[in-house]
Amino acid sequence: MTEPTSAAVREFWKGTLETLARYPARPEIELLPLRSTPFARLFGVRLTSLGPYRLFGYLSIPTGAGPFPTIYYAPKYQSVLEIIPQGTANLQRSRYVTFALAGRGQRNADTPYAAMFPGLFTDGIETPASYVFRGIAADSVRGLEYLLTRPEVDPSRVVVAGNDLALITAALAAGATHVVTTPALFYKTAALAPKTQAYPLEELNDYVRAYPARAEAARHTLAYWDLLGFAPGVTASTLLMAGAPGTLLDVAALQPLAAALRGSVTVYESQQSLYKDGLQSERWMAAQCRIEDVQSILPQRWRE
């Protein structure tokens, strides 16, 4: 089986988005008083995506007159859906609209399909059409589409944040002005996975070891998801979070990806400190969104 051509990849995603468009989102929104504060209200949002499949997300809207800068937290590779990422100051919600989406299989979006971790990464990987991440990428696009319908969102300041899906979403859907991405799953996967024994890439190694006859098909499928293929479609300013030197996805490894992105790119090298790396991300987003007093929305322990 040969590598898919660029035209085949483009056609696959065009077809996926056209299929998604056939399903109206039909949003339902419900206030969640337990997680609402004097500075932000939290809502549970249900949406339809490709399939059809019903999704769930947490939408937080600051108190006061908008529109507001916005952070869209694309689906993560874990079962739990967070309101905002663990360790983020809750006060972030006072300044940004935030929307965190559970892709199919994650908690709150786990009926009828409950994903396993590990397990999700190779589910249906035999063909691009059956691969579970076709649906998850569509879910992430649907989330951004919904978010952009909200009148509280300032469309000139929309950050899409997350791992690979942040970049994929920014490439497939219009509306992201900024991207914060930490590649983990879909960058030169077939070549890099054999160099590690760590999950989630180890899932691919397990799969290839158990089903050697399907290895080529899996590699073929993964080529449709490679970030290098999506990069030319990203015009948003991007913060590319690279691993520490010597790690699988360090600055040197990601250099081709950085070069392929069409918008301005800032490459950050991990300091192997959630404090330093997190601070960089918070400051970058605030600067891009013209929030001047970032100190006031940092975790207490990080403030100067």
Binding site: L91, P299, Q300
Partner: protein, 313 residues
Amino acid sequence: MPKTVAPSYQSKVRKPDDFDAFWDDVMREANAVPLEPELVPDPLRSSEDIEVFHAFYTSIDRLRVAAWYCRPARRAARTPAIVLLPGYQMDPPIPKEWARKGYASLSVAPRGKLRSNRQFNPGYPNLLTHNMVDRHTYAYRGFYVDTWRSVDFLLSRPEVDAARIGVTGSSQGGGLTITTAAMRPEVRAAAAGAPYLCGFTDAVELTHTYPYEEINDYLRLHPEHRAQVEETLAYFDGISFADRISCPVIVNIGLQDNVCPPETGFALFDRIGSADKRLYPYDGHGHDAGRAKHSAVVDQFFARHLLGKEVSR
């Protein structure tokens, strides 16, 4: 530069007078439940050097707990063992890495986690505050017992050396490491990273980040329950358990930890009963608590106490 930790900080955690009696009752109830250990091979995840199994056992409330069990394919008749305890939001990993180091390893999914959520599933967020007004039904009553029973599971395995069992984890896994080492004298060495579930009532004032923020959310909506909440949490606070620990123990914390305030790590360490204890504070680090550097320290610690050798990396 960020603020430094106030050296004069005093934890508010007070161990209830009937703390031991409460947990003795819980353990009596748990011990009456048959363990019913079960191993199911997982050929997909197994390889030439590591055997991987789905493990199951029964815990208090007759709840079936899932875990991952890994062991070296080539091993001695009696192998040292490690219990790996999970973070609050993380999906329990397959502990192949520990098996590669020579340990039988069990990665536990306490109730509510993926694969252990058929009978109990309060969700995330929510677990931290589920029935928080009542220590007899608080979510962590069963959750703690599920982790302690992991030691019984290991003791049921003929290949495990009962005299060489260790426990480790970070964040919630760090807090659970503390409670497990406190409640199970069979644990011979414990390494706790960035311990969560220690200093609850301190943490909710020192930080406003999730998961601890779940408690602030709850109290904002139900201020009338504050006294009951604080009463319950004192029974579940790792600081209340710490004086029962007698095995060698190491603790690492990040001085810029935005999830588990370092003040709570210092307070915990101060209360640990073991004479063989060491704290590793990492400046310039958050909730990672210096993991990139500290993992070698943990390896050496367990190699010394469980493998009986010194290692260097």
